[in-house]
Symmetry: C2
Subunit: 127 residues, 2 copies
């Protein structure tokens, strides 16, 4: 189970995700919120938000953990809304890509989960 109490810390985090950047790393959040809450609180609150299907996480190319808000379709038990993530090597922004990636059939393998991480140059930096 995830969030039980709507604490100050949780409200601040939810607010940040709503007035949304596309995705933010745990490290960035810890730094950005260092005057408002302890880094342990950031990590633990993110854990709970993810448990509840409010945010989802993924690891970037360097192994850092990133978080982004889930679409309303996600719940605690079912994490729908699976999509690739994109890191712009120019502006360093990381974003969710609302596209579908099809994995070809892999004989005798049962696919559980697919994580796609793309790097390149984003639309904003491209023109």
């Amino acid at each position: 189970m995830g969030i039980v109490r709507k604490t100050k810390a949780v409200k601040i985090l939810l607010d940040l995700f709503d007035n949304g950047f596309s995705a933010i790393s745990a490290v960035d959040l810890v730094e950005r919120l260092k005057d408002e809450m302890n880094k342990t609180t950031v990590y633990r609150a993110l854990d709970r938000l993810e448990d509840d299907g409010i945010v989802h996480s993924f690891v970037g190319k360097s192994g850092l953990k990133w978080y982004a808000k889930c679409k309303s379709s996600c719940t605690a038990d079912h994490h729908n809304d699976v999509h690739p993530h994109f890191e712009c090597k120019k502006c360093k922004k990381v974003m969710c890509l609302p596209v579908e990636v099809t994995i070809p059939n892999i004989p005798n393998h049962t696919i559980d989960n697919t994580a796609v991480f793309i790097t390149g140059i984003c639309d904003n930096c491209n023109d």
Copy 2:
């Protein structure tokens, strides 16, 4: 530039990759080779092997770094042979998948690199 001298450590590593498991994490290698070389040596030798296109690396679901041998088509300057990686949640093995994943067009984005990491159950564990 990568490997210049064929040291004992490099030979041991190459030997491991040849009598190949599919993919192995740096952490596993450090542990497995702890009696034969220092962990710093493992990390540095892997770096050089990757520079030369002899092995390639990728980040697993938990953020750990994994290594696998490259196909002969890879060189120091051109890393061909891009493919998804698969982790079996039963036997915990991680392997290279020799399949092609097509990324749909993303308007105005320039794609540089794509990493696909799949989890599920491997052929061996499936029957």
